[in-house]
Amino acid sequence: LKRVRAAAAVLALVAAGPADARTLLVGPDRELKAPSDAARVAADGDTIAIDPVEGGYFDCAVWKFNHLTIEGVGPGVIVTDRSCMGKAIFVTDGTDITIRNLTFARARVPDQNGAGIRAEAANLRVEHSRFINNEVGILAASAPDGSVVVIDSEFIDNGQCAADCTPSLQVNGLALLHVEHSRFGGGKGGDYIKSLAARTELVGNEIVDGPTGLSRCLVELPFGGSLVMRDNVLAKGPRSSAEMPAVAIVAGLGAPPVAELTFNGNRFTNDGPERIVFVRDWTGTAPVFDNNTIGDRVIPLSSDGYRWFMTKAYLHALVGYGDGLVGAAKHALAPYKGTIEALKARLKSVL
C-alpha cells in the first residue's frame, strides 16, 4: 500500500509541474511574515514551510492553489484567533492540499461555525495537526469525488451548541472520509465526527469525552453512507447526552445506499450513569459486528425506533404536511421520481 501511495504522490507531483514547485518559507525572520503572505504568492505544487512564532500567528489564509503542502517546521506552530471570509483560519480552495504539523486554535465567526480548516475543494490531507477550541475543527464542503484524510491529529475542545450544534469534524458529500490514529476529546456540544461521505473509515482513533466533554454523538452519519470502524477506543463521558448513542447511522428517505457497516475491534466504555446505546443502526443494512469490547451500561447494537422513524418519514413524504416538510419530502422523493410503484417497493423493503 505504501508503494501505491508513493506512486500516487509522484504522479501528483508530475501533474503539478514539479519543475516550478518551490518551497516558501514563512516566519518572523523570513520575507513572508505570516501564512497569509505565503497564500498570496503561492502557486500550484508549492510547499509552504512555517516557522514557529511566539504566541502563534494571529492570522488566517485562503489557499487557492492546488497540490500545496503547508507544514509547520517543528512542533508548536500555531495559527490562532483569526478567521478568513467568516469561515476559518485556513480556507482551502485548491485541490490536493496537504497540511502537516500545524495547530489551529480559537476560530470564532458570526455564523458560529468558525473552523480550523474549511475545505472547499476536493482532497484534503491533514497530518500531525491539532485543532483546539474551534467552533468546528475541520469542516469540508461537498466534493462528490473528493476525500478528506486525517492522520495522527488531535481535536480537543472543539464544537459548540449555541444555536445549531457544530461538531469537531464535519464533512459533507465526499467519496471518502478517512480518520486514523487521531484523538478527539473535550467536545463542547456537537458530535466529534459527523460525516455525510459515501464512505467513512475510522481506524485506531481515540474518541473520548473525558470529564469535560459534552458531546452529542461520538460519530454520526445522518444521511447514509458506508461506515467502517476498526480498533477505535471510544468513551462517552458523564456530561455527554445519554439520549444519543455513541455511534448513530441514519439512512432516511433518499439517503445514499449503505453498502457496508463494519465494527471490528473497537472498545467502548460508558462513563456516565445512564444506560446508553453504542451503535444505533437506522439503515436497514445488517452490520458486521465483531471483536468489540463493550463496557457496562451499554446496549451494543440497536435498531429500535427505525421502523417508526421510517413510517413517519413516509407519512410526511406522502402527505406533505407542514411547510418545512414539503421541501424535505420533495428532496426525499427525488430518487424515486414520484412513482407510486417505486415508493411502495421502498416502503416494503424497509418495513
Binding site: F58, R82, S83, R106
Partner: protein, 327 residues
C-alpha cells in the same frame, strides 16, 4: 528614556531648593539630573508667549507649559515634540478651538511621557474628516481633567505598542463622525494599554464612544451614554480583540443610536492579538432604544466573565453572545 512621576517633576521644578534636589536624586537617581534646566513656560495675553503654538516652538524636554485663559479661546493648534512635558490650563476654562495642525489635530503630541491637564479642545475639522482634539503620535500620554467637545475625533492615536494612554476625569461631548470613514470619541491604535477612568461621554455622533486596538483596555467608573441626541454606534469597540476590563461604568444606548446591535463588541474586525481576559464587573447598562440589543458581543474564543452587572431600560437586552458566562 526615564518615566518621571508628577512628584518627581515637582521636585525637579523646585530644583533650586537643595532639599528638593536631594529628593529628586533619591527618587530618580542621577539620570534625572539631565533636565535640571527644566522650566515653566507661561502662555497668555499678558505673557511673552501669546499662544500654545508659541510655547511649542520653544519648549524643551521636562518643561511645564501653563496656559492662561483667553477670551473666546485660543484659535490655535500646536505640535509638541518634546518629551516629559506637562501642558496645563490655569484655571477651569482654557479653550483651544477650531484650528488643526498638520491636517490632524488641535494638539499633535509627538513626544513621549506627556501630560495634558485642565484644557478644553473643541471644533477640530480637517479635510480627511478625522480632525482630533488630540492626536497622539508619541509614547506615553496622560490626560486629566480635560474636555473634548464637537471634534471629529476626541482623541485619535497612532500605534505605539509599548506605550500607554491614560485618560482621567475628562469629558467627551458631541465628538465623532462617519463620512464615509468613521471617527470616534476616543480612537486608540496599537498601544500596550488604554486606561480610561472617571470620564463622561455624551452624544457621540455616529462613531463609537470608545474604539481601542490596544493590547489591553481598562475602563473604570466612566459614564458612557448616548442620551436623547446621541447617534453613536457602539459604546465600546475592541475590533481586534485584546484584554478588556470594564468595572463600575454606567452606560446607556439611546433612542437615536445608529447601531442597535450591541453596546460592547470585541473582535468585530478580526482578532489579531491575544485576548487574555474579558472581565465585565458591576456595570450598569440601560437600553433606551425601542429595539433589542446585546450588552457584550464577544467574537473571541476567550470566555467573557460577566459579574454583578445591572441591565435595564425599555428595550430587551441579551447580556452576552459568544463565549463566556453571566452571573
Amino acid at each position: 528614556m526615564t518615566h518621571r512621576s508628577p512628584t518627581m517633576r515637582r521636585a525637579l521644578r523646585c530644583a533650586r531648593d537643595p532639599l528638593a534636589l536631594v529628593v529628586a536624586l533619591l527618587l530618580g537617581g542621577a539620570a534625572s539630573l539631565a533636565p535640571a534646566a527644566a522650566k515653566t513656560l507661561v502662555v497668555g495675553d499678558a505673557q511673552e508667549l501669546k499662544t500654545p503654538s508659541a510655547a511649542a516652538a520653544v519648549v524643551a524636554d521636562g518643561d511645564t507649559v501653563e496656559i492662561e485663559p483667553h477670551e473666546g479661546g485660543y484659535f490655535d493648534c500646536a505640535i509638541w515634540k518634546a518629551n516629559h512635558i506637562t501642558i496645563e490650563g490655569k484655571g477651569a476654562d482654557v479653550v483651544i478651538t477650531d484650528k488643526s495642525c498638520a491636517g490632524k489635530a488641535l494638539f499633535v503630541i509627538d513626544g513621549s511621557d506627556v501630560t495634558i491637564r485642565n484644557l478644553t479642545f473643541q471644533r477640530a475639522r480637517v479635510p480627511d474628516k478625522n480632525g482630533a482634539g488630540i492626536r497622539a503620535e508619541g509614547g506615553n500620554l496622560l490626560i486629566e481633567k480635560s474636555k473634548f467637545i464637537d471634534n471629529e475625533n476626541g482623541i485619535l492615536s497612532a500605534d505605539a505598542p509599548k506605550a500607554s494612554i491614560t485618560i482621567r476625569d475628562s469629558e467627551f461631548t458631541r465628538n465623532g463622525k462617519c463620512d464615509p470613514g468613521c471617527s470616534h470619541g476616543i480612537y486608540i491604535g496599537r498601544y500596550a494599554l488604554l486606561d480610561v477612568e472617571h470620564c463622561v461621554f455624551r452624544e457621540t455622533r455616529q462613531g463609537h464612544h470608545i474604539k481601542s486596538r490596544a493590547l489591553r483596555t481598562v475602563l473604570v467608573g466612566n459614564d458612557i451614554a448616548d442620551g436623547d441626541k446621541g447617534t453613536a454606534s457602539y459604546l465600546v469597540d475592541l475590533p481586534n480583540g485584546g484584554a478588556l476590563v470594564m468595572r463600575d461604568n454606567v452606560m446607556e444606548k439611546g433612542p437615536n443610536s445608529e447601531n442597535h446591535s450591541a453596546a460592547v463588541t470585541i473582535g468585530e474586525e478580526g482578532v489579531d492579538q491575544p485576548t487574555p481576559e474579558i472581565t465585565i464587573e458591576h456595570n450598569k447598562f440601560t437600553n433606551d432604544m425601542p429595539f433589542p440589543t446585546v450588552f457584550i458581543r464577544n467574537g473571541t474564543a476567550t470566555e467573557a466573565k460577566l459579574t454583578g452587572n445591572t441591565l435595564g431600560g425599555g428595550g430587551k437586552i441579551t447580556p452576552l453572545t459568544g463565549d463566556g458566562s453571566t452571573n
